[in-house]
């Protein structure tokens, strides 16, 4: 470990209730400056609510801490000036062109050299050729590029991205992540929520929340190791047809399809092995222990917390 890192986000005990539903229930997050953190969890687990509280769009019921060194409850104005927030749904003005949206944003942040900064942002994201197109007519990938360009325009220190790549094709997603990593190399801190496992694996650390609580955190390897999960991959003739049969077996906690293969997971590796032993003798079927994927872990986590609830 090096000297204590500066924390871009350092909040404790974050809580928010809508009606009698506790959407966020005691979340602590400490993101060191310059890291990219992934924020994962099933739909409705409280990711968006947490992000909105961090940038002052929702009033937290409880919690304390700082964002970029400012009290996140009382100094949201200062935080807003240094933060870029990309909403889950496209929230720029569809009846303005790309350039007009960027210029509007630049004016609100009172950026000097507005024209130059907008030009640069357009070039950086390859939007130059489309700058006069109305934002409403863009496809998902282009909209997302534009939104990223707009929320990066004022050179924020912190980027909060709420499912930025939902509905975006793989190429555009990869470009997007290249951008994020390039920016984080320059010292930008990023908190990004996502449902994609490959994106989670691109993060320095991940936080997995469910029903408003953090249930796992750390690097991808940490999270997989912490889960204590054992996974067997079954491949071969008619492997998929085995699924209903396997689900009832002792030691089998989840069965998931991965293409033609099945991932069978459980916490007790020994029991699992015993349960699957009879399959070894079958023709054309291979059963092999494998490292659980992040998805196996997440599905497991989701099932566990559902059991508790």
């Amino acid at each position: 470990m090096t000297a204590p890192q500066t924390l871009a986000i350092d909040v404790r005990g974050l809580a928010k209730q809508f009606g009698d539903k506790r959407v966020v229930d005691g979340i602590d997050i400490a993101v060191p400056q310059g890291e990219v953190w992934g924020f994962l969890g099933p739909n409705g687990s409280g990711k968006t609510t947490t992000i909105r509280m961090l940038c002052g769009l929702l009033k937290p019921d409880a919690g304390e801490g700082t964002c970029l060194g400012h009290d996140f409850r009382r100094e949201s104005e200062a935080i807003k000036r240094k933060t870029g927030y990309m909403t889950q749904h496209f929230s720029f003005w569809t009846d303005l062109s790309i350039r007009e949206n960027l210029e509007f944003t630049a004016r609100i942040y009172r950026l000097p050299d507005r024209r130059k900064m907008v030009d640069e942002a357009l070039d950086r994201l390859g939007l130059g050729g489309r700058q006069h197109q109305l934002a409403g007519g863009l496809s998902g990938g282009w909209k997302q590029r534009m939104a990223l360009a707009a929320c990066m325009l004022h050179r924020p220190d912190l980027l909060l991205l709420d499912e930025p790549t939902a509905g975006v094709d793989p190429k555009a997603r990869r470009d997007f992540w290249d951008q994020i990593h390039a920016l984080s190399d320059e010292g930008l801190t990023v908190l990004v929520s996502t449902h994609y496992m490959d994106e989670a694996e691109r993060c320095d650390r991940i936080v997995y929340i469910n029903v408003g609580r953090i249930v796992a955190r750390g690097t991808v390897a940490d999270v997989i190791a912490q889960s204590g999960l054992a996974t067997f991959v079954i491949e071969g003739t008619n492997a998929r047809e085995l699924a209903p049969h396997l689900r009832g077996l002792d030691g089998v906690e989840s069965v998931a399809f991965f293409g033609a293969a099945l991932h069978v997971s459980g916490h007790d590796a020994h029991k699992l092995e015993t349960a699957l032993a009879p399959l070894h003798s079958r023709d054309g079927l291979s059963v092999q222990r494998a490292r659980p994927s992040l998805e196996d872990v997440f599905i497991q986590l989701q099932q566990e917390s559902r059991g508790e609830a």
């Binding site: 807003k80 749904h89 929230s91 569809t94």
Partner: protein
Amino acid sequence: MRFSLLRVRAILIKEYIQMRRDRLTLAMIVGVPVMQLFLFGFAINLDPKHLPTALTIEDPGAFSDSITAGLMNSDYFRVVRQTRSPAEARRLLDRGTVSFVVNIPANFSRDLVRGASPTILLEADATDPASGSRAVGAFQGLIENALRDDLKGPLAARAAASPAFQVAVHERYNPESNTQYNVVPGLLGVILTMTLVLMTSMAVTRERERGTYENLLAMPVRPLEIMTGKIAPYVIVGLIQSALILVAAKIVFAVPMLGSLTLLSGALLLFITANLAVGYTFSTVAKSQLQAMQMMVFFLLPSILLSGFVFPFRGMPGWAQALGEIMPITHFLRIVRGVMLKANGFADVWPQFWPLALFTAAAGALALARFRRTLD
């Protein structure tokens, strides 16, 4: 595919469910008309009575006492001021404090006794010719009745040798009783209210419906900055509308413009801002553009009906007049008619100016208080 009643039914059920979900809209569809029916049903009166009247008596005596008593007992005239100075009475009429001035000229008694048939003058504020016409019609009979007892005995011969006196009516400010003089400036107010409130009533609602509100809130921008920026362009729109209407009033309808155009422009600017502030306040409250529309209509109807535009203001009961006094258009109409038809100066319209300014400030403050800085 053939027309299918089952599919019609599917759509119908879906619409019904959606309508039922939107409780506020439904409540307004049902509640507002009922409320307005009662409100306007009781407020509107086409035969205004007890109209404020100033009495100038340049010849005190038994006859003028009888006339005073007669006016005071009448249904149509309510004497609010007695004065000896015609200039003061004129000022009251100019400012709209009174609708009528009754003048009993000097030497009225002497001329009456001599049989010289003196003239009682009724000056009527004819900027709204309809509202005072019944009172004017009743005036002659009323004076005759008032003097009947005095013209008995030795003066009976005078009563018989009619006319013992004459009544002259001066329709001031609008001698030809041209209703367009009243209607066209009034329309200026109504058109501005209708269009301007509508324009800003969507301002914040539209951002909310399109989801751009979240983006706006995430930016470092203050509610006052948003409000000012959203209202300002429509001030220009309102001024252009006003210019068009005023030019048409002059050229097409030949409405006179006796007062100061600068003063009128100042009043217009204030009135335009007041309406935009109302619209903006609605937009901070309304959840959908449909609701914003309903609120606009809810504001527009009393603006038309209780302001003195369509129905005589002084015909309404006290509570309805109080309600009318709140509406910006009520004060604006008095200013426009005052400036255009009566050549009112700033001192004359000041009593209408400050309520307008107060209303604008209050609407703006309410909008800012209602503006949500968060998505809670």
